[in-house]
Symmetry: C2
Subunit: 248 residues, 2 copies
């Protein structure tokens, strides 16, 4: 954690962040911590400006294999009610920092945690505990992003748009295999907060969408995932296509 | 090599073949034979009907890890004049069969081999030596495909269209990152040889293109590669996009 915070944020500008996360399904062949770390090395060598890595083991292994990598760390917790929260508690943040991440990304939605704590309370606690750490707020709508920016989040991501109960209806079926990214939210944010590092994340699946995010909508950086690091998922999209299970 | 030839050909119908080949550049992290074999397992579990694997070690490792997989085996040789030939000699075919491939794919272009032998001579020699093996002819134009079909090739692929000196001019820049597939050749082949197993291969990079190959142009199967199994390549496409190094 010796990197200067401003340098960390600046280093992402105009770049491609690649999320290297294990396939959630059982039986995947390629996602031991060692595999994640090697995948991270692969994508960094190919030009990614940073990697987004989930979980203590994977972050630590990625750090060991890539001493100079820019690493965004998260944890994910699924709850009985179906919610998945990103970095839900202070213990997760302790682990991410300890494992060697440069940036901690955390849920900054208005959803309370199962323990009752709000995102804002956790964020304020984390900032106090780790004043030198760069925090990225994963949000789902404009109000949440605004709050995060006002609270001094170093990076704000559109990551969760479409994944909270109050945003899932905004999705349009404009891509054959999945909903498209929330360009509307991105555009509104970058026009409202011109100098802030807004990260385009969430369903960015094609080079065209990434290009738009940066060059049309002024995102600070764009984060992609499945289409790079999840061959199982990519094959599924293609198999659906050859089986004719979708229409344009 | 105990599978019935007709069953092998039939098993591919309407399916997605995934080429799992090591990144040609030095320094790649993920392409030991063990990695190829695991990648093959991953894509087969996700629904691919077959994998296309290059080189003795990779084929053997893939067979060991995937006893029931349908494997198309090739070797690649680069020559002093810049040519790359697929499975250029009888020794390569011996190795591919010995390593456990079900199908041998080989160059059936009109280019002579550096030794002076023609593709047709090699093909005829191979058929005689291995009467129970399924042969796939990788071709670059209509005449080559026609010859292969007339000579009884079990599968005929459009693999090399755009990669021989006499076909590279037909390419159109209709995709941002690369030329598109040769739908014209595919269409002409399937309309001329209605009952023959024509494999759509060569620059099939999106689910949309794969869908078209099968449902619009009646390909027997479609073979994809880089966009599934080469994260380094996929990152490059996206990095070019965020850097604005291409236009639509």
């Amino acid at each position: 954690m010796t990197k200067n915070k401003q340098d960390v944020v600046a280093s992402l500008r105009g770049g491609l962040i690649v999320s290297c996360q294990a396939e959630p399904k059982k039986g995947s062949q390629l996602y031991e911590p060692r595999d994640i770390a090697r995948m991270a090395k692969e994508v960094l060598q190919a030009g990614a400006c940073a990697v987004r890595i989930c979980g203590y083991e994977d972050i630590r292994e990625t750090r060991n294999l890539n001493p100079n990598a820019m690493i965004i760390g998260i944890t994910k917790s699924a709850y009985y009610d179906g919610r998945v929260l990103i970095t839900p508690d202070i213990k997760s943040i302790d682990q991410i920092v300890d494992a060697g991440a440069d940036i901690v990304a955390m849920d900054m939605t208005k959803r309370t945690r199962p323990s009752g704590i709000t995102s804002l309370s956790l964020y304020l606690l984390a900032r106090e505990k780790y004043p030198d750490v760069v925090f990225m707020a994963d949000c789902s709508d404009f109000d949440e992003c605004t709050l995060a920016i006002n609270q001094g989040a170093d990076l704000v991501g559109t990551t969760l748009s479409g994944y909270t109960s109050y945003t899932k209806n905004m999705l349009r079926r404009d891509k054959w295999h999945e909903y498209g990214p929330d360009f509307g939210l991105l555009n509104r944010l970058t026009k409202t907060f011109r100098d802030k590092p807004i990260i385009a994340e969430g369903r960015y699946r094609t080079p065209e969408q990434c290009n738009k995010a940066i060059h049309l909508f002024d995102a600070w950086a764009v984060c992609v995932g499945s289409q790079v690091t999840r061959p199982r998922e990519i094959v599924r999209w293609h198999v659906q296509a050859v089986k004719g299970e979708w229409t344009k």
